[in-house]
């Protein structure tokens, strides 16, 4: 395998190691299997932004999620090549920060610079890829400014920078 150390493009053996490390964090029995319900977390933590549809897509040939066997588990052997392809081809690209900001601004119809928790909750649980109540509660606990009960989205975006080097 040719390694050009000057480029910052991902190199396959490195990618394999990264995927394995993430996989192993959920491989409780050390038998190279993870519960399919955890696979979303793994894919996200590898820097991808799949949609819910992507995560449940069992039909597309290259989907990393299609490899479910009868036990409801995904095997590393099959996950590894599929996920490698995903990473090399940037299949589920991340959302750039400015786009996210725009997204929040769309929801903030009155341009207040913040969202009321109820507003956010309404969107998250009724539109798009719906949040469960549990997810919503957790999000509000994490995001809302407890003093004045508002979600200051601009600050959040600044603070929650995604580490590009994964």
């Amino acid at each position: 395998m040719m390694k050009n150390k000057q480029r910052s493009e991902p190199v396959v053996p490195d990618v394999h190691k990264t995927i394995k490390a993430a996989f192993e964090a959920f491989d409780y029995e050390s038998n190279n299997r993870v519960d399919v319900r955890e696979i979303g977390t793994i894919i996200y933590s590898l820097g991808c932004f799949p949609t819910q549809a992507d995560l449940h897509d069992k039909n597309s040939r290259d989907s990393p999620v299609q490899v479910e066997d009868q036990t409801g588990c995904i095997n590393l052997e099959k996950f590894l090549p599929a996920m490698t392809k995903v990473l090399m081809e940037h299949k589920f690209p991340s959302v750039p920060e400015d786009l996210l900001l725009q997204a929040f601004e769309v929801l903030d119809k009155e341009n207040k610079g913040y969202l009321e928790p109820e507003q956010l909750a309404k969107y998250m649980t009724q539109e798009g890829e719906l949040f469960t109540q549990e997810e919503m509660d957790e999000m509000l606990t994490a995001l809302a400014d407890h003093e004045n009960n508002r979600v200051y989205y601009k600050d959040l975006l600044n603070q929650w920078t995604i580490d590009p080097d994964m």
Partner: protein, 739 residues
């Protein structure tokens, strides 16, 4: 589309807006889910960091103990080195009950007028026990006179208890079971707050590991013992692997007692040694639920456990010495055994440390307690022969009948051979952990006990007609965890164990239906104000601080390993090679690439790490440490827990000081253990550095101060370094701006 607002335009705008809203929602949802996933990943490896360092610390302690045991067995009684450490292997010299009570007499200890803590009168009443809890909540300390008195009463009580307590949930009483507390008084207070204190209607089982690591271990013990005395049928205590004076030397309990009780601490500790050995081993509820601290193995047999003389096992790490019966029928703890049997042992070597052959150092360092027991099997047989000979000399005057003597001798030989089995039973009970795979294998990570699988659980439960095992011993993020098809429940009651926000604690209530009902909690006023994100971040920073210290402690080895990837000496390696090098040295099995950005704060130059810059970021700041060889400092830093433990062992009278002479002997010991050359000159240098007031004695605390890690980042972090310090250190760290 044209300009101007027509009806159709408005419609399109509206629907476009609706689409945009949905798309925005989707983006936000996706972004948020991604963030949570990464937080979860970080939480897992943070956990992994703490746990692997914790267990390797336990393993280190066992290795140290084995090393010292090896020394004990292989050097003449007169040798200096042996004298330094022999006292920790000595069972209590005072033997008969009357002599015991005299030794621990509290009666001449005066309680001064200014003492503002609680006064105890015996027999203890429930009001006093409750008062004690209140006093400790208000940070009072119980006077040593009352401590000794309380401990003596506790000892008397414990001696009456069987190895296995059998209790029942009769009259629809619910039994509350608590796991490890580890000196965290806040958690015990929280449990009492949520669940009321023990009473006739409110029975409790406390499942071991009451002490070590936390700063209020003695207070927890005193509270538990008080309630044991007041409600002997309702309060049950199981022994944990930390109810062991050898472990306490490393993990802070010894230090805590000596610091809080400067005058009588030593006596208190000695009495506690005895008490720990008398703690029951397990509790069975309604003949169906087994509660014990660690776990089981494929050889665990409750019948054997019920029969053992549990008090022979003062420390679970070493099998009991040979016992011989006196003519009065009482068993005598005797020091003489060790010396006389040593003289007869064929493999005794007349050596001092200076002549220790290098071949053997390797073997005892790698040995786990399993290997140790094999060695014992051989010597047990020899010991029977020796004691047989000895007995006949001693019994000449007494003239027991012929057949009785031979019968006694042969049953003794039987008993001796089962000493090993008995010991293993207890070791497994206190140290084992469950695993997901079937089978039963030695627990190499901890160094004692086994890993046991679901098949072993199944078999064990069937054989003993039980339905559930409740155990503790392992920290769990939610405070509890079921495994083995819900037949094993791990219960951990020390919340925020690794750091604030790391985990919840839990206790379980069991009614007549024997269905476990779990209650979780987290003791910290701080934690409630932190958001999920913030508390996870804190724990992560703390774990990383600990990890950075570990990494630094292996600097030389790391440099070597990294250089192998940098043949051209560019000073740079790629992240991948860096990760491989680090794992090859640290052996912690962590996702180094994920941790890279936290461990190597400098910039990456095109995907490459400047490793010299990385190492320079870390430095030891110490008392005139500059003139001391860096690699020596590093080795000492790496082993500072071991070093401190050895010091505490050598400091026989627990004064906190050791003489220069003993200090030199300690270094010789350490140099053998660590396979490292320390010249007399180096030691002299160290002494000059440390004995600042030149009074011929070394202050242990002062010495340990010399080895603190500072690096630019960690100064800003107030995370607790739980595994490098001991209980008192933690409180010191709070105020220290240099940490």
């Amino acid at each position: 589309m044209g300009c101007g607002v027509s009806k159709s335009d408005q419609f399109h705008k509206g629907s476009r807006k609706a689409v945009t809203t949905i798309r925005s929602a989707v983006l936000i949802q996706r972004w948020y889910r991604q963030y949570i996933a990464r937080t979860e990943m970080k939480r897992r490896y943070t956990w992994h960091i703490f746990q692997s360092i914790e267990y390797s610390g336990e393993q280190a302690q066992i290795k140290l103990y084995n090393f010292l045991g090896y020394l004990m067995d292989n050097f003449t009684p007169a040798s200096n080195e042996r004298n330094l450490i022999s006292h920790i292997f000595r069972e209590n010299e005072v033997c008969r009950d009357a002599e015991w009570e005299r030794y621990f007499c509290y009666k001449n200890i005066e309680v001064p007028e200014i003492y503002s803590g609680p006064h105890l009168t015996f027999p203890l009443t429930v009001e006093q026990a409750v008062g004690l809890v209140e006093a400790f909540r208000n940070k009072k300390q119980l006077h040593s006179r009352y401590v000794l008195q309380l401990l003596l009463e506790t000892w008397r009580q414990l001696r009456m208890l069987p190895n296995i307590n059998r209790i029942s949930t009769c009259q629809s009483k619910e039994i509350t079971i608590c796991g490890d507390l580890h000196g965290q008084l806040d958690d015990l207070l929280l449990i009492f707050y949520k669940n009321d204190m023990p009473s006739l209607e409110n029975p409790y089982v406390f499942n071991g590991d009451f002490v070590d690591r936390g700063k209020d271990s003695i207070e927890i013990l005193l509270i538990l013992f008080s309630f044991l005395l007041v409600y002997p049928s309702e309060v049950h205590l199981n022994r944990g692997n930390h109810e062991d004076h050898i472990i306490n030397l490393r993990y802070g309990f010894t230090k805590e007692v000596l610091t809080k009780y400067k005058l009588h601490g030593k006596r208190i500790l000695k009495l506690l040694q005895k008490i720990f050995s008398w703690l029951p081993l397990a509790t069975v509820i309604d003949q169906k639920v087994l509660v014990l601290h660690g776990g089981i193995s494929d050889t665990t047999d409750l019948a054997i456990l019920a029969r053992v003389d549990r008090h022979n096992y003062v420390s679970a790490l070493r099998p009991p010495k040979k016992r011989h019966q006196s003519s009065a029928g009482m068993s005598i703890d005797s020091d003489m055994d060790l010396d006389t049997s040593c003289r007869h042992k064929s493999f005794l070597r007349q050596n001092s440390l200076a002549f220790l052959k290098p071949i053997n150092r390797q073997s005892f360092q790698n040995r786990s307690l399993q290997d140790f027991s094999d060695r014992l099997k051989v010597s047990a047989v020899e010991e029977v022969e020796i004691s047989g000979r000895r007995r006949s000399i001693l019994d000449k005057d007494i003239n027991p009948p012929e057949n009785e003597r031979t019968a006694a001798a042969s049953s003794e030989s039987l008993n001796s051979l089962t000493v090993v089995d008995e010991w293993k039973q207890i070791l497994d009970l206190l140290w084992s952990d469950p695993m997901t795979q079937d089978g039963c294998v030695p627990n190499e990570v901890r160094g004692g006990g086994c890993y046991w699988g679901p098949d072993v659980t199944e078999d064990f439960l069937n054989r003993h007609n039980l339905q559930l095992i409740i155990r503790s011993h392992e920290c769990k993020q939610e405070g509890y965890e079921f495994c083995h098809n819900r037949k094993v429940l791990t219960l951990f009651s020390a919340s925020n164990y690794y750091d604030v926000g790391s985990n919840r604690g839990a206790y379980v209530k069991l009614g007549p239906d024997l269905v476990p009902y779990l209650i979780q909690y987290q003791a910290s006023s701080m934690i409630r104000e932190l958001t999920v994100r913030q508390s996870a971040g804190r724990t992560e920073r703390s774990a990383l601080k600990v990890l950075r210290e570990q990494v630094f402690a292996h600097k030389s080895d790391l440099l070597c390993a990294i250089k192998r990837f940098d043949r051209n000496n560019t000073g740079l390696v790629c992240v991948s090679d860096w990760a491989s090098a680090v794992e090859s040295v640290m052996h912690l099995g962590l996702p180094w690439r994920m941790l890279r950005s936290q461990l190597v704060p400098g910039k990456i130059h095109g995907g490459m790490i400047d490793y010299h810059e990385w190492f320079n970021e870390l430095a030891i700041k110490g008392v005139n440490a500059d003139h001391i060889d860096q690699s020596l400092l590093e080795t000492l830093y790496r082993h500072r827990s071991t070093l401190e433990t050895i010091f505490r062992i050598v400091d026989y009278d627990n004064s906190g000081f050791i003489s220069i002479e003993d200090f030199q002997q300690t270094w010789k010991l350490l140099s053998v253990y660590l396979k490292m050359e320390i010249t007399d000159d180096t030691i002299a240098d160290l002494i000059v550095t440390i004995d600042r007031n030149q009074d011929g004695s070394i202050d242990i605390e002062e010495f340990m101060e010399a080895f603190r890690l500072t690096d630019k980042k960690s100064r800003l972090e107030r995370g607790r370094s739980m595994f490098m310090g001991t209980a008192t250190d933690l409180t010191k760290l709070d105020g220290d701006p240099n940490i």
